[in-house]
Symmetry: C2
């Protein structure tokens, strides 16, 4: 039976791919990747040097318009198209930035294909720990409760999620920075916040949060917080 | 200047190591790893096939007696000993299960050495996403708030941390399973809980939580929870 692989290719540095991901890519003849409607695929760029020659590639192009997310029709069509390859005996690998099951769009394919097909996920290095490494600051340790909080939430939800933990990672900052900053201030966490964008990519950027304008944060930015600084060290 | 590397070697499967971790291991002459007082080092076992011949090895042996944790004297001595190598111009790599900055013991060395030495962390695949892959269940997606909760916490803290999120991972289960089960029942999450132990290792085990005895869970076990099942799929 053919297999649909969700392959975690890591946060950006092509060397942060695993041996297992490489082994799967090298034996797979059909490779799919997500991309914005008209632009370059970050996932494909990360994996480019590792792709075998002569494989068939399939682009899953998702408009960046948040209102249409999760773009039902596009995933339904991709599931159908990739299902044809699987039914014909060809394994399919879907490239996933970071880890496929950690806030990735792979879940939308997984949901549509898991019943009819064999699915295997190869875990990858997530942006969460890549950002911690980039900031030279432990994410969490010992008995810390860690919250991972999408910046897309309404401000009261942000405050609730941030108020009840020792450490937090606010992900998907993008155009939500002003709101996130307000929630951090309201919960007394602003001075513990560290900002990083595009971790492990050549254009990685680390600056004090106070120097980032409210409209300046890219989607691939993150704020890490530890309530007690690193007091437990 | 010599470098102290914290190397994430992944959750257990030796093929879940990254190319970057391999490159550092191959050029480093001193390799340190944590181990229980009298037993085998899991970190060393994971990395064994990747270690270069002729490197010097240094064991950091920590008694499993929780009362003595974090074993101040042992980490102080290790920091001193590894510092001697660094001062003599020899890079040192510390093997870390999963990711060095994600609930790892590397932070205790990091805290003692970061001021006097150059430290670099190579992020790794964490047990969190490896467990999700093993369970074939997404960890979190879209606007989910994810809580990572150490089972070592008192029950009221467990309940507070579990009550306020969409998805959760309860880590370090070990001898705390009875307490965790109680907290899951109190927060209505028991039926959403999935249990896995030793993810990606040859003795990985997935069974319904109801079949695991309260005294039976190893330290390297985890419970993943999603409040709405996978309703967002």
């Amino acid at each position: 039976m053919s297999t649909l692989y969700g392959i975690g290719i890591g946060p950006g540095d092509p060397d942060l791919i695993t041996l297992r991901a490489l082994a799967v890519l090298r034996k797979t003849k059909v490779i799919a990747w997500p991309a914005p409607a008209g632009g370059e695929s970050l996932a494909r760029r990360i994996a480019a040097r590792h792709l075998p020659g002569g494989c068939e590639e399939y682009a899953i192009r998702i408009p960046m318009d948040a209102a249409r997310f999760p773009a039902e029709e596009i995933y339904a069509r991709a599931a159908r198209d990739l299902g044809v390859h699987l039914a014909a005996g060809r394994d399919v690998a879907v490239l996933c930035e970071g880890d496929p099951f950690f806030y990735g769009s792979f879940v939308y394919l997984f949901a549509r294909m898991r019943e009819a097909h064999r699915v295997e996920v190869v875990p990858g290095v997530s942006s969460l720990t890549a950002c911690a490494a980039g900031l030279a600051a432990p994410l969490a340790a010992a008995a810390d409760v860690l919250s991972v909080v999408p910046a897309t939430l309404p401000e009261p939800n942000l405050r609730a999620a941030l108020g009840n933990c020792d450490a937090a990672a606010v992900i998907k900052i993008g155009r939500h920075l002003a709101k996130v900053r307000k929630a951090l201030a309201a919960t007394g966490l602003l001075r513990h916040a560290r900002y990083i964008e595009r971790a492990t990519l050549p254009n990685q950027r680390i600056v004090p949060l106070s120097e980032v304008g409210d409209g300046d944060a890219p989607y691939f930015s993150m704020i890490l917080i530890h309530r007690r600084g690193c007091a437990w060290l």
